[in-house]
Symmetry: C2
Subunit: 348 residues, 2 copies
């Protein structure tokens, strides 16, 4: 019946209905100023009547960017990054963008590859929690090709991008201070992934505070499985300098540590005080509830998107501003695992 196979209206049909040329319709769509108001009205009516919608593929072919933003995180199933993804997607939608996601699985090669694939899809901007260790020229090229990039949670080595980071160091200092205030003298610190920026910063915060108090740091790194935590703990408990408090650098380590301590019937906080970096839903349900340093993934994502959207907007203006650096505060949430009081305070 119909001559058209699919009834998706094109700019051409709108033009015909409105009795104007193609270009006029195009101008109306892209609200170009030089269209007479009356003409615009006609065209808009036709657009409404036909339910016309732009065909993005055609625009892409003409060199426009897609209404798409890319998000790359190490692991989408990690509660922290999942929360970021949710927020990013939400804000993107509110601004007419859809979200392309990828997990880098902590592999720099995979990360760059995904970034390039996204760039080929003409995303308008890229949000990146990077696992890259050193300056990467392929990413550099992406940025040079005028793709707005915002790094969050971790900086992007070598590239001068906008970045939204968290006060890891101040958080670790606050955590360590908190333990000192409770009178602890032998405070250990466990974690893994010490080549990740965030963890390195936390270690520095710990080390600085401990040394300032003229105490000796006890740092156990690369402790990433339950078995390794158990082994380390056994050794620590038996050592002559047995710690009376432990600062856990990762959520994972915290969980394993609690499990290992429970197995060994070590009473928290009496025999061992515990404080963990990264808050989590069940921290308050544990017995005793765990004192933590909390970051806000929602805030992190929100600020990052904000920067990215600004970049995208101002992009056409080509004004090469300074790259923005935002440092978000953390909160020390005092619960029961270090003994004592139970109020919470800002750390930084």
């Amino acid at each position: 019946m119909n001559k058209r196979k699919s009834n998706v209206p094109t700019i051409r049909e709108v033009a015909k209905l409105a009795r104007v040329g193609l270009m006029t319709v195009s101008r109306v769509i892209n609200d170009h100023p030089s269209v007479r108001a009356s003409t615009r009205k006609k065209v808009e009516a036709a657009i409404a009547q036909l339910g016309y919608q732009q065909n993005e593929a055609a625009q892409l072919l003409k060199g426009r960017r897609a209404k798409l933003i890319g998000l790359i995180v190490p692991d989408l199933s990690d509660a922290f990054f999942a929360s970021c993804a949710q927020t990013v997607q939400h804000i993107a939608r509110a601004h007419g963008f859809m979200t392309l996601v990828a997990a880098s699985e902590r592999d720099p090669e995979l990360e760059v590859e995904q970034a390039e694939l996204m760039a080929k899809r003409m995303i308008s901007g890229l949000l990146l929690v990077s696992s890259i260790k050193e300056s990467d020229e392929r990413l550099q090229r992406l940025q040079d090709s005028d793709l707005p990039i915002v790094a969050f949670d971790r900086p992007l080595p070598g590239l001068n991008t906008d970045a939204v980071l968290v006060e890891n160091r101040a958080g670790a200092e606050a955590a360590t201070q908190h333990l000192l205030k409770h009178g602890h003298q032998r405070i250990a610190c466990v974690g893994y992934d010490q080549d990740v920026y965030t963890v390195r910063e936390r270690i520095e915060g710990y080390r600085y505070t401990i040394q300032n108090a003229r105490l000796k740091p006890q740092i156990a790194l690369g402790v990433k499985t339950l078995e390794e935590v158990q082994a380390w703990l056994d050794e620590a408990l038996d050592s002559k300098s047995r710690p009376t408090a432990i600062f856990s650098l990762n959520h994972r380590t915290s969980v394993f540590l609690l499990q290992a301590l429970a197995e060994r019937n070590v009473q928290i906080p009496e025999e061992m005080a515990i404080i963990g970096f990264d808050d989590f839903e069940l921290a308050s349900v544990l017995k005793p509830p765990l004192t933590t340093v909390a970051q806000s993934p929602v805030e992190l994502a929100r600020r990052s998107m904000q920067l990215l959207l600004e970049r995208i907007r101002s992009h056409k203006g080509d004004v090469q501003q300074e790259s923005a650096k935002i440092l978000l505060p953390v909160r020390l949430i005092i619960r029961g695992s270090c003994g004592g009081h139970t109020n919470s305070a800002s750390a930084s």
Copy 2:
């Protein structure tokens, strides 16, 4: 210097270099059979030399689908769906697809809208955890337009799509049976979101088992905040038919319940046995460790992607097969919160 602004090679340049026509290159790319081997070699060499890559926008314009799959879940920050997203994205990548994600925020309208936007982007297939309550004609239209759709976790009312579901009912029956086996006579059941398929099924499983045992179901629904759980619990504890065991229908409810019980110093499992639907990372770290009915989001996502990829592949063959329905088993993970033994067994 360069006449070309950007040095992305096109099919045309490949043709020139290989000294063949455009179409030959196109044929090689789409491995059309009728190309002489020697010609193909030449073209492939040229492609390699130039580092040619297809321009998807141009293909889209010619009516092809994008190497994109869409994923819509209620909430990306939910650990369960986050895990699904991670798996989906991983498998998609292995098959050359990128992933477009959206959270429906449990809003059917938003869900359909996002699905339509994805369809407009010419995704090759859609994975959907639907919040839709009744047959929706806009989704129907998407399916009619030949977009492969796979529903998972929840069926898609009215549409005859492939679906991967979980044995919610059998899981609830197993949970209830487990409590019965421990001698409980007054078993309550709390949850919310009873208009969600999965929860309805769980309630049915509970009700069926309880009634079969000639006991009286005690079902509390719509209990979704900590306050509501507390209020309900206070009432239940004081009631003349005070339950000795509680089956929690959601992860959220389980958490609140544990918290409320802890506040009231109700001993688990002595004074109250607890079993929760949905396993979670910290279930084994709690005191006592929580007995749960576990589903596997990874398996759910894996099977769904498998179905979707098959659909996409066989799509061209246009053979309208029956829609597949897969029902995944759950596992009862017996820990300490019901007392007694501590081994785990398959439920279905």
